[in-house]
C-alpha cells in the first residue's frame, strides 16, 4: 500500500510535516528551510514580525500557496501538483482567515452547508443538522437565516470557524483570526478557539494574542525573515527565550 496516497498513518506520525521548505516570490526568498512537524492534537501558535512569512507558511499547508523546495506532508499525503492530493488535503484542513471570507450572497446556514453538500456529498438535511449543531456551539444559532453582512465582526468570525468545522476537518489553520476585530469581540472568538483546542483539535494558529498562546499552545513558533528562529513550549518561550531576535520581538509586543 502506498502510504503517501492514502492518508493512512499510525497515530505517532506527525500529521503535518514540513521538511526544508523553501518558497520564493520572484526573487524574494520568503520561506527559508522551514522545518516543522506537528503531532496529532498538537496546538501550535505561530508569531513573528509583519512580513516574516507566517501567513505564507500556513497557506502552504492547504496549498493556497505552492512552494519551490523541500517537502510538505499533510495527513500522510505529500502535497505536490497532483490535484487528487490537493483535494484530499483541503477536505481535511479547515482554514479561518483574518477577514472571515464568508460568502456574502448566502445566508449563514447556506455558508455552512455549501461545502458539506457539494464536497462531502452529504444530504441537505444532514448538512443542515450539522450546521445548526456547530452554530449552537459557537453560540450563534439564532442568526442562521441572516446574511453575513448583518452580523458583527466577532459573529462573522465565529460563523467562519463553524463553517470550517462543518467539514469535519482533522486540522484547523487560523491566520490572525482576531486581528480584524474590535477589542470587545476578540474574546468571544478566542473562547471558541480555546474550547476547540480543549477538545483535541490539531491547530496551527498565527496570532499575536499571547494570552491565548500561554493558555492553550503546546508550542510557540517564532518566525523572522522567512525562518523559524525559535520554537518552544510557551512557558520557556515567554520566560526564557534563547534567541536575541525572540527577546527583541517579545519586548516589543508584551
Amino acid at each position: 500500500m502506498n502510504e503517501t496516497q492514502t492518508g493512512a498513518t499510525d497515530g505517532n506520525d506527525p500529521i503535518i510535516e514540513l521538511r526544508k521548505l523553501n518558497k520564493w516570490y520572484g526573487s524574494f526568498h520568503v520561506l527559508r528551510d522551514i522545518d516543522l512537524s506537528v503531532a496529532r492534537q498538537e496546538r501550535i501558535v505561530v508569531c513573528g514580525p509583519s512580513g516574516s512569512g507566517k501567513s505564507t507558511m500556513i497557506r502552504c499547508i492547504n496549498k493556497l500557496e505552492d512552494y519551490q523546495g523541500g517537502e510538505l506532508h499533510v495527513d500522510g499525503t505529500l502535497l505536490n501538483d497532483d490535484v487528487k492530493n490537493i483535494d484530499h488535503v483541503r477536505r481535511e484542513v479547515g482554514m479561518v482567515f483574518q477577514h472571515f471570507n464568508l460568502f456574502p450572497h448566502l445566508t449563514i446556514l447556506q455558508n455552512l452547508t455549501l461545502a458539506p453538500v457539494w464536497v462531502r456529498k452529504l444530504p441537505k438535511k444532514e448538512a443542515e443538522d450539522t450546521a445548526m449543531h456547530y452554530l449552537a456551539r459557537v453560540k450563534i444559532a439564532e442568526q442562521a437565516k441572516k446574511y453575513p453582512g448583518q452580523l458583527s465582526g466577532g459573529q462573522q468570525q465565529r460563523v467562519a470557524i463553524a463553517r470550517s468545522l462543518c467539514m469535519n476537518p482533522r486540522i484547523m489553520l487560523f491566520d490572525e483570526p482576531t486581528s480584524a476585530l474590535d477589542p470587545e469581540m476578540i474574546k468571544e472568538v478566542l473562547d471558541v478557539m480555546v474550547e476547540l483546542a480543549r477538545e483535541g483539535m490539531t491547530m496551527i494558529c498565527v496570532t499575536h494574542e499571547m494570552g491565548f498562546a500561554k493558555e492553550v499552545a503546546d508550542r510557540v513558533v517564532f518566525m523572522d525573515a522567512g525562518e523559524i528562529v525559535e520554537q518552544a513550549p510557551p512557558d520557556r518561550f515567554f520566560d526564557n527565550p534563547s534567541s536575541e531576535r525572540t527577546k527583541l520581538f517579545l519586548s516589543q509586543i508584551l
Partner: protein
Amino acid sequence: MSDARTTSRAAPVVQTGPVQWAKENLFNGPVNTALTLISLYVLWLAIPPLVNWALIDAVFTPDPATCKAASGACWGFITEKYRLMLSGTYPYEQQWRPVVAMVVLLGLIGMSMNSRFWNIWLAAYWVVGIVVMGVLMWGGVLGLPYVENAKWGGLPLTLILAVNGIVFSFPLAIALALGRRSNMPAIRAVCVTFIELVRGVPLITVLFMASLMLPLFLPEGMTIDKLLRAQVGIILFTAAYEAEVIRGGLQALPRGQFEAGDSLGLSYWQKTGLIILPQALKLVIPPMVNTFISMFKDTSLVIIIGLFDLLGSVRLAANDPMWRPFYVEGLVFVAVIYFIFCYTIARYSEHVERLARKGERR
C-alpha cells in the same frame, strides 16, 4: 422606563408640499435659480410648437393630400402603414401569424421576468412556446403556407434577433470572461484574441463579413441562411462586449472569496458556479443591461444585409411615393416602440438588482 436616553422623541416634522419642494429643489441658491429659469424658458420655446405639430395641426386620417396641406404631423401615415411597419415583408394575408408569435414571446418573457414563475414549468412553457413560434413563423405544416425567414421582418424580427442575442451571448460571454482569466495559456489566448478581434471592428463589419465573406470559406454548395448569419454575428459581437463587463465583475471580487472556496475543498467549477459567478454577475447587472439595451437597438443594422427589422420596415413603408414626405412620423412611431422596450428592460434590471441585494448589507 424614565431613563432620559430611552424616552422616544417624535421624528422632526418635514415640511412637504409643492411650494416647499420647489424651494428646496429648484430655487435653492442663485445658480440653481438661474438654471431653473433658463430651463423654463427653453421649455416655453420648445413645447408649444411641438404640441402644435404633434396634436393641434396634425392629421389623423390616412390621406396624403390632406397631410400635404396641413402643417402638422401626418399620423395617417401610421394608420395606413402600421402593418407594414410592424411586420415588414412578411406576406400580408399571413401577418396574423407573427402577431400571435409575438404575443406568445412577450407572454413568455413577461412570465420569465416574474420570480413567481421561476420553476421547472417555465422551462417547459418555453419549449412549447418556441415550437409554437417556429410553426407560426415558418409554417409549412398544419395548412399554414411556408414563409422563408428572409421574408420575416418588422418588430418580430427585431425581437427574435434581440432575444436570441441576449440568451445566447450571455453564456458565451461568461465562458469568454472565465477563459480570459484561465490558468491555461492556450485558452486564455483564444479568448483574448476573440474578444479583441470582435471588439476592434464595428458591428456593421461583422454583419457584412458574415453575409459576404462567410460563404467564401464554406464548402461549395453549403449555405447558411442570411438570418442565421446575422443572428450569429450579433451574438458574437454582444458576447465580446459582455465578456469584458463580466470580467470586470470577476476582478472586483476580493481574493478571499476564491481562497475561502479553495480552502473548503470546492472544485474549480463548484467555486465558480456557487461563489464567484453569483457575486460577480450581481455586481455587473447595470453595465450588462446597458450592453443588452445597446444591442437591442443595434439589431437595426441588419438592414445593410437586406433584412427589414422594425426600423428597416419604416424605410420600406416610406418608399411608397405618396407617403415619402412622412418618413419622420414613421420614425417617431418606431422610436416610441424602441423606447418602450428599452425602458422596460432598464426598469426591470433595477428590480432584479434590488432582488439580488435583498438581505445583503455591506
